[in-house]
């Protein structure tokens, strides 16, 4: 059990990692990364039951699949800060010969990554497959996944959503990063998706909401609640309202920073809003 203050410090440090990583290579996706920072910090350091070290099969531990792979800066920072690989390696993000590819990959053997993602809409199917393997192995641990809300426009998600409910895959917790933004603008403009909670429920999922997805306590509580709802015959969905770019004021409430790096001056502002707590890489 981590103290809340420690998690807050980690959130601040991870945000620094994110903006520094994308700034250095002048590419990457800071908006969604910043918006999900509290979630992923809580997930990896509070919610999930994890073994020491990494093996691909992940038997007897919880698993996480990142479906919206473009928020790789966040994923890499959280993995490194959790001890999966040296924090110094974050400086190789998106560079030639790095294990930290633009989008997560298993190809280079980066510990903590179990599937490539980036081409959207594929992660939920994979999470369901891993959850089925857990059932076959009589492994009572859970499988978590994260998906962008815009990503739900990909049809494969709905195949997977239908499958999981129809087959009572009740050891999966799928979290939706509900920030209302995608590359071309607001999701409500690009392709309105209606009431996601009702949609998941209509497909047979037990669905709960986290109203402030940038509040650590609310996330921890919401995930605890989600965990309690597993094992009851229904897959569990968490719809988490977040603010894209959270923690860096000029990146918030806009899709403009979905896939754009800050310049030197903007980096300084971003860093000044997120104090160094655990040491920059």
């Amino acid at each position: 059990m981590s103290e809340l203050k420690e998690l807050q410090d980690l959130v601040s440090q991870v945000r620094r990692d994110i903006v520094r990583m994308v700034h250095k290579v002048n590419s990457g996706h800071p908006g969604g990364s910043l918006g999900c920072t509290e979630f992923m910090v809580a997930l990896y350091n509070e919610t999930m039951d994890l073994k020491e070290g990494f093996d691909m099969n992940g038997i007897d531990e919880d698993l996480f699949f990142l479906s919206n792979g473009h928020i790789s800066p966040l994923f890499y920072s959280v993995l490194a800060r959790r001890g999966y690989f040296p924090v110094e390696e974050l400086q190789t993000f998106r560079l030639l010969n790095s294990r930290l590819q633009g989008h997560p990959a298993t190809h280079e053997g980066l510990p903590g990554v179990r599937i490539a993602s980036g081409s959207l809409g594929q992660g939920l199917s994979v999470a369901i497959g891993a959850a089925l393997a857990k059932k076959l192995n009589n492994d009572e641990h859970l499988v978590y996944s994260l998906h962008g809300d815009g990503e739900l426009q990909e049809g494969q998600n709905w195949e997977a959503i239908m499958y999981a409910a129809g087959n009572k895959v009740d050891n999966v917790i799928a979290t939706i990063d509900h920030n209302g933004q995608q590359i071309d603008g607001a999701t409500s403009d690009v392709l309105p998706m209606g009431d996601l909670k009702k949609k998941f429920e209509a497909f047979g999922w037990d669905t709960l909401e986290i109203k402030n997805g940038n509040n650590l306590e609310e996330i921890i509580q919401g995930l605890k609640e989600a965990k309690q709802r597993t094992g009851k015959g229904k897959p569990v969905c968490v719809i988490m309202d977040t603010v894209m770019g959270h923690g860096v004021d000029f990146m918030m409430h806009t899709h403009a920073w979905h896939g754009k790096a800050p310049n030197d001056e903007q980096l300084e502002i971003a860093l000044s809003q997120n104090p160094e707590t655990l040491g920059d890489y």
Binding site: S125, G129, G166, N167
Partner: protein, 318 residues
Amino acid sequence: MKKYIDQGKKDTRSGYGAGMTVLGRTNPKVVALCADLVGSLKIQEFINENPERFFQVGIAEANMMGIAAGLTIGGYIPFTGTFANFSTGRVYDQIRQSIAYSGKNVKICASHAGITLGEDGATHQILEDIGLMKMLPGMTVINPCDFNQTKAATIAIAEHEGPVYLRFGRPAVANFTPADQNFEIGKALLLNEGSDVTIVATGHLVWQSLIAAENLESKGISVEVINIHTIKPLDEEAIIKSVKKTGAIVTAEEHNYLGGLGESVARTLTTKYPVAQEFIATQDTFGESGTPDQLMEKYGLDNKAIEKAVLRVLKRKA
């Protein structure tokens, strides 16, 4: 000419089903998935004997590929089953990212490949799948020739670590390879020794090539026949060894000439030992409705077409 006896016509997809039955009994890590085509893929016996290791995903092939990738995480060896068209083109990006690039140990098993699917027509007759799959880094591509070989291949790929595309067909065809054969991935099989020309064939075209070779022999032409069940990795050594002797080659496949076995062979020969080559394959066209035999004849894939190609290549032989 070495004699091969048809032990009785059988569909290669039943060879897949028979192989799955064996795997169900011998390898507890093997799981099967199917997208609403259990009857077509002949896996009912596997399902009856291992209901907990079977996943019916419905008509949702993209989801099936993702679930298969996920099942490997936990140590399982998933075999996906649907028609070749829906096993490849329909789900190419899912295979590319979640299976091939992710290096997952998934066996993509594809029935009703090629034009011999027959009456359903071009929507279901994929002639591009070998090309699609062989282009994926790390993917093994196998196209066995008959029931016995498909069964053996199914059993063999469970022991191979890494993604595999196993392609087989719908119609009953000659079953002429040994029932107890040991299937070695990537190892070409020399079916008949000859000195004038080499035929390298895959899938249903192997039997057609044997018929063609026999006819040609009666005309005084000595034909070497190679069954190349594995298209990737290609047994380059066996092909080069043969053409060093014969000096001419015909490749034969139930697939578009673009992207198929013939192109892989041509690439090997142009870089290592150039000889005249003729291609038995479809000519960058879609198929159509008809019986398998009618279609094989119309699209130039039967033994008569192979004979003609041999005569053509002999004229060009240096």
